[in-house]
């Protein structure tokens, strides 16, 4: 053997070759994730069977669905003629026929653009509050949005809404002036008192006067014409937006050292939370009438919004209280030692952190609230579920159930899922920021 021919190091590289089939790509993934053990393999097979069972039953129903028909019986005829006798087949023609009613209830059909525009404006208006990348000055637009939406939805003279909105401006300045002069409690009390006095005595005449000078208005729509998803969204969104600040105040109240504030907040939370929402809704629809002076016409929808708000505020309060309790005592002490007063330390130090912790719980409560708006069917409001009864009451669609519920379920899912995604986005973003 001569040294010259033998090298200890390979002079030519081997060509690259793939790992064996069992160690790469799909096969590897399936082996590791679905069939790693006997138990895992059995579970995988059972799951596959279950999925197949459900899908194989539902697919024909969807695939054979009929989208154009005048009535349920016509749906059946079309199916028998084109697909086959008695084959499972959905009759989505009911959606094509009645979708407007499911979305808008009994809103005048020449005015459908208004709820649609309101929804668009709402989404645009709330963006600056949801995404901090948008310059803060747009928040002024967010503050104006509720009044624009109110006017769009109910209509009437623009001056009535403007005069009502002015009450908030008056309240705000009264609060600022009084708080500077006489402290917070006088400030809040005075501002609330002055605003209500204005709304009771001055807002109406002022609106009428302005309207007689310069009449601008759109068709007035009564609350009882609201229905379908318009109703659900109006109640749900109002409840969500109003219950957050109220819930935060209740949580702070429950943690407060002031005896009266503490006991009132605790009592309120426990009473509201301890009774089913449906009872509160009946209270809103029936019992409130006994307490109000006879002849006052206190809008039912407004009453429902108030009840839903109070109900969800009680839950929010508990969620936020959990967030407050999770903060280390040192944060409160550091804020105090820098000379920040109570409201400043809450606003700048404590709440931003406590709310961050509470995001999942808060969004969970909101999703619950939004779905609970379907309970208003029991006090005679026509939410989407209520409308299914109304639709079935017509001879054309007597006996149709699933197609309507699938549609309604899907609509609710879209709303609730978006809320869930937003909460995830927010959590991730705050996580990144604060580490």
């Amino acid at each position: 053997m001569s040294d010259k021919n033998v090298s200890f190091v390979r002079t030519k590289m081997l060509p690259q070759s793939e790992p064996p089939i069992g160690q790469r790509g799909v096969v590897k993934w399936i082996r590791e994730n679905l069939f790693s053990s006997w138990l895992n393999a059995i579970l995988t097979l059972v799951s596959i069977w279950l999925v197949w069972f459900v899908v194989s039953h539902l697919t024909p129903w969807f695939a054979n669905s009929v989208w154009a028909a005048e009535s349920l019986s016509q749906c059946r005829e079309i199916r028998d003629a084109t697909i086959g006798n008695g084959v499972p087949s959905a009759c989505f023609a009911v959606i094509t026929d009645r979708w407007q009613q499911l979305l808008f209830g009994f809103y005048p059909n020449t005015e459908y653009w208004r709820p649609v525009l309101a929804l668009v404006l709402f989404v645009v208006g709330i963006l600056p509050a949801l995404f901090t990348a948008i310059p803060r000055k747009f928040l002024i637009g967010t503050a104006v949005t509720p009044f624009v939406l109110f006017w769009l939805l109910w209509g009437g003279s623009v001056w009535t809404t403007a005069a009502g909105a002015l009450g908030f401006v008056i309240g705000y300045y009264a609060f600022k002036l009084l708080t500077d002069r006489a402290g917070l409690i006088v400030g809040v009390g005075g501002a609330v008192g002055i605003s209500f006095a204005y709304w009771l005595f001055a807002a109406g005449p002022l609106g009428d006067a302005l309207h007689s000078i310069l009449p601008i208005g759109i068709q007035y729509v009564e609350s009882k014409n609201f229905g379908g998803f318009t109703l659900s969204v109006v109640i749900g969104v109002s409840g969500i937006i109003l219950s957050l600040p109220l819930g935060i105040l209740l949580a702070l109240g429950r943690k407060s050292d002031m005896f009266i504030v503490n006991k009132l907040s605790t009592g309120f939370i426990e009473v509201i939370r301890g009774v089913p929402l449906i009872v509160w809704l009946f209270t809103a629809s029936l019992i409130l009438n006994y307490f109000l002076p006879p002849g006052t016409n206190f809008d039912l929808m407004l009453r429902v919004i108030i009840m839903v708000t109070l109900f969800s505020a009680a839950y929010i309060a508990e969620v936020v209280r959990g967030g407050l309790a999770a903060l280390p005592k040192g944060q409160y002490e550091a804020a105090d030692s820098l000379g920040l007063d109570y409201w400043k330390s809450m606003r700048l130090i404590i709440l931003p952190q406590a709310l961050k912790i509470s995001i999942p719980g808060i969004v969970n409560t909101f999703i619950g609230l939004f779905k609970d708006t379907t309970l208003v069917v029991f006090i005679g409001l026509f939410d989407p579920i209520g409308l299914t009864n109304a639709i079935r009451a017509s001879t054309n669609w007597n006996g149709i159930y699933w197609e309507l519920y699938v549609f309604i379920g899907l609509m609710f899912f879209v709303f609730c899922y978006s809320m869930g995604r937003y909460s995830l986005y927010l959590e991730k973003k705050l996580q990144r920021e604060h580490r």
């Binding site: 040192g330 550091a334 030692s337 820098l338 000379g339 952190q353 705050l430 580490r435």
Partner: protein, 263 residues
């Protein structure tokens, strides 16, 4: 506990104790429920004094200095800070708190704000300093504690020593006349202890009135003008550092010193 050596020469030219009284505590008592934590505390601190408080765990050191800015409430006796009496009057409390800076054992920075925002928050919202000016002040003090390059980070991204220096800078941004320290180094590793002590020494060199609860006896020896020993809620002994360490009078002080200095 071993003593951390302070290597550099301390510049005493600005360290002057004036006759002006900064804090006057008379016959102060405090209870937690039935537990008598502070008993008949009498203490006068003049402007420019650097006082170190030491004593065994649970002797009430933290409680005492927390009473000075009303993080704890006292039940009897009086505390005057810069001539203002601490009572339940919220106006006085807020005034005193904005004059008295405090650093905690666990820093207590605000984790949702950047270092710069931590420092500018109180000047902007309490002193109503314009934002730009507040940021300049903040950068000035961050430079002083030698971390201006971290200004845009969040507290969670800094080491313990850096965080404590930010906490000191945050207090200084309020331009306090008195600084309180509650065991500022006891949650830190030795290396970081040094950087925090250096910052505190610089502060002392500029004539700041300081009260420090600490077990850093090297710091006490070289920087303090008075060392106070507390036990069971009482001030047992106080003296100049030289005399305090060389010739302690009470037996409790002797015992404590022998334990803490490790011989």
């Amino acid at each position: 506990m071993s003593e951390l050596a302070i290597e550099r020469e301390i510049d005493r030219s600005q360290m002057k104790v004036s006759d002006e009284v900064a804090i006057q505590i008379t016959k102060m008592n405090k209870w937690y429920g039935a537990f008598h934590v502070l008993r008949d505390i009498d203490l006068t601190v003049n402007r420019g004094e650097r006082i170190v408080i030491c004593g065994p765990s649970g002797s009430g050191k933290s409680t005492l200095i927390r009473c000075i800015n009303r993080l704890e409430e006292h039940q009897a006796g009086s505390i005057l800070v810069d001539g203002t009496e601490l009572s339940s009057d919220l106006k006085n409390i807020d005034k005193i708190r904005s004059e008295v800076g405090m650093c905690f054992q666990h820093f207590n920075l605000f984790p949702h704000l950047t270092i710069l925002e931590n420092c500018t928050l109180a000047p902007i919202w309490v002193r109503k300093t314009p934002k730009k000016e507040a940021e300049e002040i903040a950068m000035h003090y961050l430079e002083k504690v030698k971390i201006p390059d971290q200004a845009l980070k969040y507290p969670g991204q800094l080491s313990g020593g850096q965080q404590q220096r930010v906490a000191i800078a945050r207090s200084l941004c309020m331009k306090p006349r008195i600084m309180l320290f509650d065991e500022p180094t006891s949650a830190l590793d030795p290396e970081m202890i040094k950087e925090v002590l250096d910052t505190m020494i610089e502060l002392a060199e500029e004539g700041m009135t300081m009260i420090c609860v600490t077990h850093e006896m090297g710091f006490a020896r070289q920087v303090a003008n008075r060392v106070i020993f507390m036990d069971q809620g009482q001030i047992v002994e106080q003296n100049e550092p030289e005399a305090f360490f060389k010739t302690p009078k009470s037996d409790r002080t002797k015992l404590f010193l022998s334990q803490i200095l490790g011989h």
